[in-house]
């Protein structure tokens, strides 16, 4: 219990003091996971929508792959992305390994199936008669999708929250493709792992608490958006 209290104390201290190293790590965490979430939304929402509305052979197979992807082990993703980006790998010439962009890619790969899976369920949950009604009022295919997204907006925000949660809490892949380099690719999760392995439990605890707080604040903002204008 002492460690927890000390960690809490140190976390408050680090926050109040605006420790430059901690501020830098926190901002990078937000930047990397935020960008990854954005990319996962751009990929996942259209994919989920297409799977919810489309009728094509092999649809069930793709849906099952997406659902499996929702529980993709980050270590496997890290390994795969690392192999791709490795200097001698197929995308090695881009020189992305051990850069924040590599972490963005890994986290986006982890979050995209989560976003796609939740979006798929969200769109499928809408009354199918709503499609008929909208088409019967003269909606084009694109307009239909936009209105369906509007109707499912609360669930889509839940998809964004789940995706962000998947990205920000991930450590294995970030470590493998980012390398946990001070001032370059160190984020809250990788720093926590490092401090724990060094036995600096109070600092690790502090970083962990900051991570929790960060995740909570971002989710709180999205929740506020999600629940506004709700009438019952």
């Amino acid at each position: 219990m002492e460690v927890v209290l000390e960690g809490l104390q140190q976390a408050l201290w680090l926050i109040l003091r605006r420790d430059p190293a901690v501020v830098e790590i926190t901002l990078r965490t937000l930047q990397v996971s935020g960008t990854a979430t954005l990319i996962s939304l751009l990929l996942g929402v259209p994919l989920g929508t297409a799977l919810a509305l489309g009728r094509f052979p092999g649809r069930r197979l793709v849906v099952s792959l997406v659902n499996t992807g929702m529980g993709l082990p980050p270590v496997v993703v890290g390994l795969f992305v690392a192999l791709m980006l490795w200097r001698s790998g197929p995308l090695g010439r881009l020189g992305l390994i051990y850069t924040p962009l590599a972490m963005v890619i890994a986290q986006a790969v982890i979050a995209a199936p989560i976003v796609a899976g939740v979006s798929l369920a969200a769109i499928q949950q809408l009354d199918p008669r709503l499609h008929l009604q909208l088409l019967g009022l003269g909606a084009s295919r694109g307009q239909l999708v936009l209105v369906l997204w509007w109707e499912a907006r609360r669930s889509l925000l839940a998809a964004a929250m789940a995706g962000f949660g998947g990205a920000i809490s991930e450590v294995g892949a970030s470590m493998m493709v980012g390398g946990n380099i001070v001032g370059q690719t160190r984020v809250l999760t990788t720093a926590t792992v490092l401090e724990t392995s060094k036995g600096n439990f109070d600092l690790a605890m502090a970083l962990g608490l900051i991570l929790l707080l960060l995740a909570y604040l971002v989710t709180l903002a999205m929740t506020w958006l999600q629940q506004s204008g709700r009438t019952g």
């Binding site: 008669r129 709503l130 019967g136 009022l137 003269g138 109707e151 204008g229 009438t231």
Partner: protein
């Protein structure tokens, strides 16, 4: 007949290898309200979806003003409007919902809002414009749904049982208003319902759909008075439908001139149960349709004197037709107008009912089903 707006030829829809809709020929004419009636599962909604271009028929053609409509045709869909049984409003303000179709058609917002307000006004729900659609009652929501379709001023309005989810007074009030609006705008309309009253109220013509087949298409009087076959007769139930006009009102009773006879009905007949604006009682000059169920008509031998009775309507007539139907007989009597009675085989024997037999027919004033036109 006026110009055909929408025509279906040899349309066939199959589902799971079973034919669910077969319409050899059906035309919707300019300015008319075509009521499609049939029991649940008769294929009414399927027919409407085909008409809306939302469901492709396996075979056959759909033509709109002479042009073939391909399923999903956006140009065609933007000339029509569809209203479903459930209002299917978006989780947004009433105004946003009503302007939706205009926004699909890329109307500027300001212009769309202006027109939407006009239609909300005409449907008596302008005060709800800024409310969230999720807070509306069933009747309000259906009015908004109608406004959302009518605001498009469609060349063809398709209504799929728009009233069946509403309670009786709400339904009656909305039916009145819709009847007025359709008459005023002369919007060509296809109105699907399982309710014969609604069909009679709104329909210029009635199409009867049973088991996915179009069984009869005619003016209401003939569909009810001369059903195409026994199944249609069994579905419509009411076999005598008379057009008349109220010629006198006295002691709470209205006298309706029908052919050469006068039929007595209560002045309160056809009033809605308890709407916000009750319909006034029948007045001299009111145009009405009278429906008389065959089981409400009694027959007596022609020698019977016309004694006073609680059956206010008694006429002398002559049997023109006796048709067995199941275990009963349907007897048509000419008594100034054709009237159908249903009787048991025993009555047929005892009264010696056959063509040419003189009879006295009677039915109570309260047994007459009055539909205001």
């Amino acid at each position: 007949m006026s110009k055909s707006v929408l025509s279906l030829r040899d349309v066939r829809v199959e589902y799971g290898g079973r034919s669910v809709l077969e319409v050899p020929a059906l035309d919707v004419c300019s300015g008319e309200v075509l009521a499609v009636i049939g029991p649940n599962g008769a294929g009414k909604s399927t027919l409407l979806q085909v008409m809306a271009g939302l469901r492709s028929p396996g075979a056959g053609v759909l033509r709109f003003r002479g042009q073939t409509v391909r399923p999903g045709d956006l140009g065609y869909r933007r000339r029509i409007a569809l209203v479903l049984q459930d209002p299917m409003l978006l989780d947004a303000s009433v105004l946003t919902n009503v302007t939706l179709g205009l926004r699909f058609r890329r109307w500027p917002r300001r212009k769309a809002v202006g027109r939407a307000m006009g239609w909300l006004e005409r449907l008596g729900v302008a005060h709800l414009a800024h409310r969230s659609a999720r807070t509306l009652s069933g009747g309000e929501a259906q009015r908004v749904s109608l406004a959302r379709a009518l605001v498009l001023e469609p060349e063809l309005l398709l209504l799929d049982e728009p009233f069946s989810a509403l309670d009786a007074p709400t339904r009656a009030a909305l039916l009145d208003d819709l009847q007025g609006l359709l008459r005023e705008t002369r919007t060509t309309t296809v109105f699907v319902t399982h309710d014969q009253d609604e069909a009679l109220r709104l329909g210029d013509r009635i199409a009867v759909l049973l088991g996915g087949r179009l069984r009869q298409l005619d003016v209401p009087e003939r569909v009810f008075a001369a059903p195409a076959d026994a199944e249609v007769a069994a579905f419509v139930g009411m076999e005598t439908i008379l057009t008349g006009r109220v010629v006198a009102v006295e002691n709470g009773m209205a006298l309706v001139q029908v052919g050469s006879q006068r039929v007595e009905v209560p002045v309160t007949a056809g009033m809605r149960p308890a709407g916000p604006e009750p319909v006034p009682p029948l007045q001299e000059g009111s145009e009405v349709l009278l429906g008389i169920r065959p089981e409400d008509v009694t027959l007596a031998p022609g020698e019977t004197p016309l004694l006073p009775s609680s059956a206010r309507n008694r006429f002398r007539g002559r049997v023109t037709r006796v048709v067995p139907q199941g275990r009963l007989y349907h007897v048509t009597v000419a008594c100034g107008f054709p009237l159908v009675a249903v009787v048991t085989p025993r009555s047929v024997r005892e009264l010696a009912l056959r063509e040419g037999r003189e009879v006295v027919v009677a039915f109570k004033a309260t047994a007459v089903h009055v539909i205001r036109r």
